[in-house]
């Protein structure tokens, strides 16, 4: 860093060549929002087809492509990059570092993403269509019976994995090596803690996913038989490998969300986070348990009873550290001076709806009961409660919470609250009825359904349209804030907020903490 302060470069090269953590964070956030809209558009097609029983709008084959791409784009394009973007923006600010530890790699891990998703989306126009085997891409659907586009799919998963691993290595290196003097591990904000643990999970399991798709590639093109019984392989092996990645993956998605609400709830309760230490240990415990519960996704493959019992008990054990977290958030609010600005509303919405999703998860963990719930809409309802009301709500809360710090302008509070209430009602209208149709036996991933499910599906579709439309309001509010929001220069935008990010100027300057901040040794964690 030179002696003189300089702003960003001008024009498109600023974004192409930037190594600035704030620029890269911004690009990640905009990119993930674009993917959120794309994945949302796929979801709208799904819900429009399911608005009424019978085949209405699309061919079944296209419907399958929509469910597959919706899942892939939302998980790998929207949720994961959005939290990486947030990590880029906030982790250096929260630990008093001038930038990420590996800024050039940071640029690369972002810029390989957009071409990858362009390639994945382009498969829609290929002969044979886009991947249509579900986001879990079980063999042999994804090998023997896959469309030719599966090879592009495999390549894009490889690149996405590479991007995630590079991003994670960067985050771990930043947190381990770049903390300001006095910022000990147990003083780090919880968002930094949850991301540190998430990054370790990513480094451990993204290579497993890469291994699974590599085996698919070899089975399809090089005559091996990892997943083909004819050559001595076993399709069930695919499910074991996939879920050995896939279960830690769901915590990769939700742990940073835990971190976000652990920042926001104390700020609007005007109290320190209750049980900070137990929050850290609970996060680590969840991360450890995530490695030994994968087979609860595949109770019906014909495991021995001992296996079913092991995975059932191990899964139920996760409710303990997760319960610790939920009770800590509630205890933080207990007797606090609560106010209900938009970030707080989304955080409380997260707390309530994520807990519902946690409980349905507990129901699904019961092996004998799961035979009834398996592959039904009950599962769809469950994971949308934890993915949407969990990860996406907390991400939305994070945007409202830190947006004024990023751009020095306040968003429109009335519009934000309207966004929350429309989202909350739309979300529940969309997904709560899916519990009922699922328990009554409606299978997932099927474009048609029996007549008795018609009313609930219509409700579900209307809810989905409402939730989707509310995101347009969100986009408008964010753009209006950036362009013409009420300027603010308070360092502490929220009076109850704690942490180093609220000690820098507002809007956050292009370079921050070029000299490390002083951290009061007596001061507790922020």
């Amino acid at each position: 860093m030179g002696d003189h302060h300089h702003g960003p470069a001008k024009g498109i090269t600023r974004w192409l060549f930037t190594t600035n953590h704030k620029d890269i964070g911004t690009m990640y956030l905009w990119f993930s929002f674009a993917m959120f809209i794309l994945g949302g558009a796929f979801a709208m097609i799904i819900r429009a087809e399911l608005f009424q029983p019978g085949m209405q709008l699309v061919e079944p084959a296209f419907f399958n492509q929509m469910t597959t791409l919706h899942g892939l784009v939302m998980v790998f394009g929207a949720i994961m990059p959005s939290f990486v973007g947030l990590a880029n923006w906030m982790i250096p600010l929260m630990i008093g570092a001038p930038d990420m530890a590996l800024p050039r790699m940071n640029n690369w891990s972002f810029w390989i993403l957009p071409p990858t998703f362009l390639m994945l989306a382009s498969t829609l126009f290929m002969e044979g269509g886009a991947p249509a085997f579900g986001w879990t891409f079980y063999a042999p659907l994804s090998t023997t019976y896959a469309p030719p586009s599966v090879t592009l799919f495999i390549f894009s998963v490889h690149v996405l994995g590479l991007s995630s691993i590079m991003g994670s290595i960067n985050i771990i290196a930043t947190v381990m090596n770049m903390r300001a003097p006095g910022m000990t591990y147990m003083k780090m904000p919880l968002f930094v803690w949850t991301w540190l643990i998430t990054a370790f999970l990513l480094v451990a399991v993204m290579p497993v996913l890469a291994g699974a798709v590599t085996m698919m590639l070899m089975d399809i093109h090089f005559g091996t038989s990892f997943f083909s019984a004819a050559g001595g392989g076993d399709p069930v092996l695919f499910q074991h490998i996939f879920w050995f990645f896939g279960h830690p993956e769901v915590y990769i998605i939700i742990l940073p969300a835990f971190g976000v609400v652990s920042q926001i709830i104390p700020a609007f309760s005007r109290k320190p986070l209750f049980g900070y230490d137990s929050m850290v240990y609970a996060t680590a415990a969840i991360a450890f348990l995530s490695f030994i519960v994968w087979a609860h996704h595949m109770y019906t493959v014909g495991m021995p009873v001992a296996g079913e019992l092991f995975f059932m008990y191990a899964t139920m054990l996760i409710a303990v550290p997760t319960g610790v977290k939920v009770f800590n958030w509630i205890s933080t609010m207990w007797r606090g001076s609560l106010t209900f600005e938009t970030p707080m509303l989304f955080s409380i919405g997260f707390l309530i709806l994520f807990t519902i999703g946690g409980f349905t998860g507990l129901m699904l963990s019961i092996a004998p009961a799961d035979f009834q719930y398996h592959d039904s809409y009950f599962v769809v309802a469950h994971f949308h409660y934890v993915m949407v009301a969990g990860a996406v709500f907390s991400m939305t809360a994070a945007i409202y919470y830190w947006l004024p710090k990023w751009c020095g302008r306040m968003y429109n509070e009335a519009m934000g609250k309207t966004h929350f209430w429309i989202s909350f009602v739309g979300f529940n209208l969309a997904f709560f009825p899916q519990h009922f149709v699922g328990l009554a036996g409606m299978p997932r991933r099927i474009p048609d359904y029996a007549l008795q499910f018609a009313d609930f599906n219509m409700m579900s579709s209307i809810g989905a349209f409402i939730y989707g439309a509310s995101q347009i309001l969100f986009l408008y509010n964010v753009i209006a804030t950036i362009v013409s929001g009420k300027p603010t220069s308070d360092e502490k935008v929220w009076d109850g907020a704690e942490g180093l990010e609220w000690t820098v100027a507002t809007p956050a300057p292009y370079h921050t903490f070029e000299t490390p901040p002083r951290i009061d040794p007596a001061h507790a964690h922020s």
């Binding site: 290595i169 771990i172 290196a173 090596n177 005559g223 038989s225 001595g232 014909g302």
Partner: protein, 185 residues
């Protein structure tokens, strides 16, 4: 902690890249073989041993009869006529039993097939010993010809007493394209 490099960031990167490469290797060199070893050792997944049974049973248990059912399935696109000569046998544990499956290739060109066995209930798999089986090898068959494929098996004396029926299912796959490739059972 062992320091690999003086530069803390380089040190962290080297360690983490090692972990990532290690996890990639772990899938291939640990998870895949371990899955096969566990399935073989525990007889789970209904998999029977891929090798001929060579031990001798202590005797024949005349006190009970086990019903053996044979099921044959063609994998999608497999044109052969394939099935057991008898669909049900009653056998005593410990005794050596023989049966044949018949196969006919109706197409003009020669083909190679591989039969994959599965035993139900899965718990019985480790007690179902095959001393001779057409499923141990790939089975070539000339165009428009047929063959009888022998199966010789012993039900173990230690078979749990609550198991009275064992179903042996064969799925036959067309492996003409990959014949001569990977080892199969």
């Amino acid at each position: 902690m062992i320091r690999i490099s003086e530069n803390a960031n380089v040190d962290t990167v080297i360690k983490l890249v090692t972990v990532a490469i290690g996890m990639f290797a772990f899938v291939f060199v640990v998870m895949v073989p371990l899955y096969d070893v566990l399935c073989d050792a525990l007889g789970i997944n209904g998999k029977t041993s891929g090798e001929a049974y060579s031990s001798v049973q202590a005797g024949v248990d005349d006190s009970r009869e086990i019903t053996i059912q044979f099921v044959a399935t063609n994998n999608e696109g497999m044109p052969w006529d394939f099935g057991p000569s008898v669909t049900v046998m009653k056998v005593n544990p410990g005794a050596v039993n023989d049966t044949v499956f018949h196969a006919r290739n109706p197409l003009p060109e020669a083909m190679v097939a591989q039969a994959i066995p599965s035993v139900s209930p899965a718990r019985a798999a480790e007690y179902f010993h095959k001393t001779e089986c057409f499923c141990f090898n790939q089975q070539p068959l000339d165009g428009e010809s047929s063959a009888e494929m022998p199966l010789q098996f012993i039900v173990d004396m230690d078979l749990p007493r609550d198991i009275r029926t064992i179903t042996l299912s064969y799925t036959i796959f067309d492996v003409t394209e990959m014949a001569g490739g990977v080892a199969v059972r």
